[in-house]
């Protein structure tokens, strides 16, 4: 069984300040972990993925995440927020490969103010 907990339903930052979106997971298997972003009325776009290679994963648009097995965390960060980063972010876990389905967190809405 696997589950994901996104610790904040909303995060508000000012443009140019760092972003931290927190995610904890549990999985019976060696997990694959993902962050997806959903802009208003849009589909889901993959930001980055961890699939048992390097623990620090770099994604698109300056985002990165670090897999910490001891803390069962996969927090998403960005050094400097941009207005266009305002969106819903989903942390996702899957058992490694196979037909396993994705288990989504409940999402964190990132609000960016000028």
């Amino acid at each position: 069984a696997q589950s994901v907990t996104q610790l904040d339903s909303h995060v508000s930052v000012s443009e140019g300040t760092p972003v931290l979106l927190r995610c904890n997971y549990s999985s019976s298997y060696s997990p694959s972990l993902f962050w997806y972003v959903q802009h208003p009325n849009k589909g889901l776009q993959l930001l980055l993925k961890y699939t048992s290679a390097a623990t620090l994963v770099k994604g698109i648009n300056g985002f990165e995440a670090e897999f910490k097995k001891s803390e069962t965390s996969f927090h998403l960060t960005k050094p400097s927020a941009h207005m266009s980063d305002a969106a819903e972010y989903f942390c996702v876990v899957s058992a490694d490969s196979g037909y396993s389905t994705l288990t989504f967190g409940k999402g964190t809405m990132l609000l960016v103010s000028p």
């Binding site: 694959s32 993902f34 997806y36 959903q38 009325n41 849009k42 589909g43 889901l44 776009q45 993959l46 993925k49 699939t51 819903e88 989903f90 996702v92 899957s94 490694d96 490969s97 196979g98 037909y99 389905t101 994705l102 989504f104 409940k106 999402g107």
Partner: protein
Amino acid sequence: DTAVSQTPKYLVTQMGNDKSIKCEQNLGHDTMYWYKQDSKKFLKIMFSYNNKELIINETVPNRFSPKSPDKAHLNLHINSLELGDSAVYFCASSQVSRGPWNGYTFGSGTRLTVV
């Protein structure tokens, strides 16, 4: 060239009607999925097909019937639509059987509103 395309993008229909949502992927993936996103934006798996064969069927009413004519297509037919079926439905695809698994590619979603 869209990798996973769904049609229609929006669908408004009356209770009791039957409707279909189509999904096509041009990535050569062997596995396709339907996910439902509810009003609170929570996403949950409904079905999964691998090479046209149903492999995952979560607890979904029988009114929902997926159909996969070939491995590039996975359509979702819904009978006797109910108000509670209003949601955004996402199609996705994935390459499972060969090479490293890179997760899913999602379509842009179909917003279904039942009135």
